[in-house]
């Protein structure tokens, strides 16, 4: 193993080398820096790097901690003290985080080194990372295609071996969908399992932080560090956290997996469908029982989401007003002029669209028709899952109906972009946990594009979902495939 090969390692394999003292944390940072310099000009995954601080942390790293000496990338919507936190928006240009998010504090306590911030759709609003006001991120498997979004920078960095692992946030699929499109593992915990303190809020009742990694085991390692109650987040659940790594196994005997019939819709790419069918067979051969289930209110999920998420966003983003931090329009005449022009110049089009839609659905005369009704349908969707989970331990579906689409293909039609999240959104509405794992490739225009399999689990049943995903992953070679840009040159 030469230093050049280090960035291709999983976190677990990197740790073995570190603990055997075959490499130092300093050498790991150096190798990662070289790798980022070599590939990120083309990929565009990172918005900022703090390598000098990382080197200092690496030199003092305690390798024996659970994530000792492991550098991790952080989606640039999570506060890391002293580093920028742009949310990929012009309105936060120049902002430096004056505190650490709870997840960052916990990663540091576990020995990890948060060294860089990754690109995203502005304020996590999007499914392709094309809504970033600061940078274009490309899919490492095909540079003419999107990496997915909104955690597209985190997914692309991991896929291109430019990060050992990363944190993302998932409001309607923003961890799972980019993981699927970029060919990595993406895990969304149960709502409340991981503290949101220090995550810039988009839709507070839906947002959840989670890992993007090369393997399921690596996601379990990160979950061990970040999960658990936090008094600084009033929605954080005060429940014991199991050892997710210890519960990983290769056997699926006794596990009941449900295939929701409503998810096998028209419009699924035939190669995606074939890959999911093959994965279901594979899990069956590992001992899992496959059961047909129904989630009757599935067709309402996207509509419910775009009412509730925009409503919450319109309130959350009111804080960006040019007064306390970030961008301020020049020479304001009065307060209204300051607010109006700061927000006009600071926000990109998708953020404006969503704030306006959210303001509308909450406005006098429309609240009952839109917001209240959507909350009730949300409850129906939650009940669908509760009933399905009486029969099965987990649900299987595609993560995305299609593989990575072309840059620019969907930007002109917001509604089409919203429908990219059709399989992921319901999990956020119901507050349950879910994961995307690589399950094959589609051949498109002579290119191999990754396909993701989604597993959804009961609230707080993360250990089971990780175990099932791990057993499946270990029985395949999909997670070992790397894009050509990722192989050492």
């Amino acid at each position: 193993m030469t230093e050049k090969d280090l960035p291709a390692l999983s976190i677990a394999d990197l740790q073995s080398l570190l603990r055997r003292r075959e490499v130092s944390a300093r050498e790991v940072i150096d190798a990662l820096r070289e790798r980022i310099q070599a590939v990120d000009v083309e990929i565009g995954a990172y918005l900022s790097l703090d390598i000098d601080a990382a080197i200092k942390e690496a030199e003092e790293a305690n390798i024996d901690l659970p994530l000792g000496g492991v550098p991790l990338a952080i989606k640039d919507i999570i506060n890391v003290m002293g580093q920028p936190c742009t949310c990929a928006s012009k309105i936060l240009r120049g902002y430096r985080a004056p505190y650490n998010a709870t997840v960052v504090q916990r990663l540091r306590a576990a020995g990890a080194i948060p060294f860089g911030k990754t690109n995203l759709d502005e304020f996590a609003m999007g499914s392709s990372t094309e809504n970033s006001a600061l940078k274009l991120t490309r899919n490492p498997w095909d540079l003419s295609r999107v990496p997915g979004g909104s955690s597209g920078g985190s997914a692309a960095a991991v896929a291109a071996d430019a990060a050992f692992g990363a944190l993302g946030s998932d409001t309607g699929g923003s961890i799972r969908q980019p993981a699927a499109l970029s060919g990595v593992v993406g895990f969304k915990p149960t709502y409340g399992r991981v503290s949101r303190f220090g995550l810039v809020a988009f839709a507070s009742s839906l947002d959840q932080i989670g890992p993007l990694t090369k393997t399921v085991r690596d996601s379990a390692l990160i979950m061990n560090a970040i999960a658990g109650h936090d008094p600084q987040d009033s929605t954080s659940l005060n429940e014991p956290v199991p050892d997710y790594v210890a519960k990983l196994g290769n056997d699926l005997r006794g596990v009941r997996l449900g295939v929701p019939k409503e998810y096998m819709i028209e419009g699924i790419d035939p190669q995606v469908k074939a890959a999911i069918d093959a994965a279901v067979k594979q899990m069956n051969s590992l001992g899992a029982e496959i059961v047909d289930v129904s989630l009757p209110h599935t067709d309402y999920a996207v509509a419910v989401y775009y009412i509730l998420a925009t409503a919450e966003a319109s309130a959350n983003l009111a804080r960006f007003d040019g007064v306390r931090y970030g961008y301020r329009a020049e020479n304001p005449e009065d307060m209204l002029d300051l607010y109006g022009r700061t927000r006009e110049q600071g926000f990109g089009p998708e953020v404006k669209r969503r704030i306006i839609l959210g303001t509308y659905v909450l406005s006098s005369g429309y609240y009952d028709a839109y917001y209240l009704r959507a909350q009730k349908v949300r409850e129906l969707i939650r009940q669908d899952f509760a009933e399905a989970f009486e029969k099965v331990d987990a649900l299987i579906s595609p993560t995305s109906p299609v593989p990575a689409f072309k840059l620019g293909e969907r930007t002109g039609d917001p509604l089409q972009m919203y429908l990219a999240d059709i399989f992921t959104i319901a999990a956020n509405l119901a507050g349950i946990c879910g994961i995307s794992v690589p399950c094959g490739f589609a051949e498109v225009d002579g290119r191999r594009l990754p396909i993701g399999l989604q597993l959804l689990g009961k609230p707080l049943d993360e250990a089971r979902i990780l175990q099932v995903a791990h057993a499946y992953e270990q029985s395949t070679d999909w997670h070992k495939a790397r894009p050509s840009i990722a192989s050492p040159k």
Binding site: Y95, Y327, G340, K352, Y360, Y370, P414
Partner: protein, 96 residues
């Protein structure tokens, strides 16, 4: 449910404190009209037997101890301010 026809983007943008160019307002009017037409499907759902869910998992009355703790100094809190003076955020005059 109110239809897409009721949406006046220019008016709602003023409520949201976002200035919009006429071009942007026209584009949003069309795009958000499409979204509102799409969400019309929620009318078909039978919601007569459910309560509205504000959160997926029910947790109530979450309090933490009302105790002093280390937090930002005034200087740190003002560290990102676009304009500040004398430990205060500076904004245009609000009251005559």
């Amino acid at each position: 449910m109110a239809g897409a026809a009721d949406l006046d983007v220019a008016y709602v943008a003023r409520l949201a404190r976002i200035n919009l160019s006429e071009e942007e307002a026209n584009a949003f009017q069309k795009q958000l009209g499409d979204v509102l037409n799409y969400v019309e499907k929620l009318r078909q759902a039978d919601v007569s037997r459910v309560e509205a869910a504000a959160h997926a998992l029910p947790i109530f009355n979450v309090f933490r101890e009302d105790a002093a703790r280390d937090w930002f100094t005034a200087e740190q809190a003002l560290g990102n301010a676009p304009r500040k003076a004398n430990g205060l955020f500076i904004v245009p005059k609000v009251v005559e």
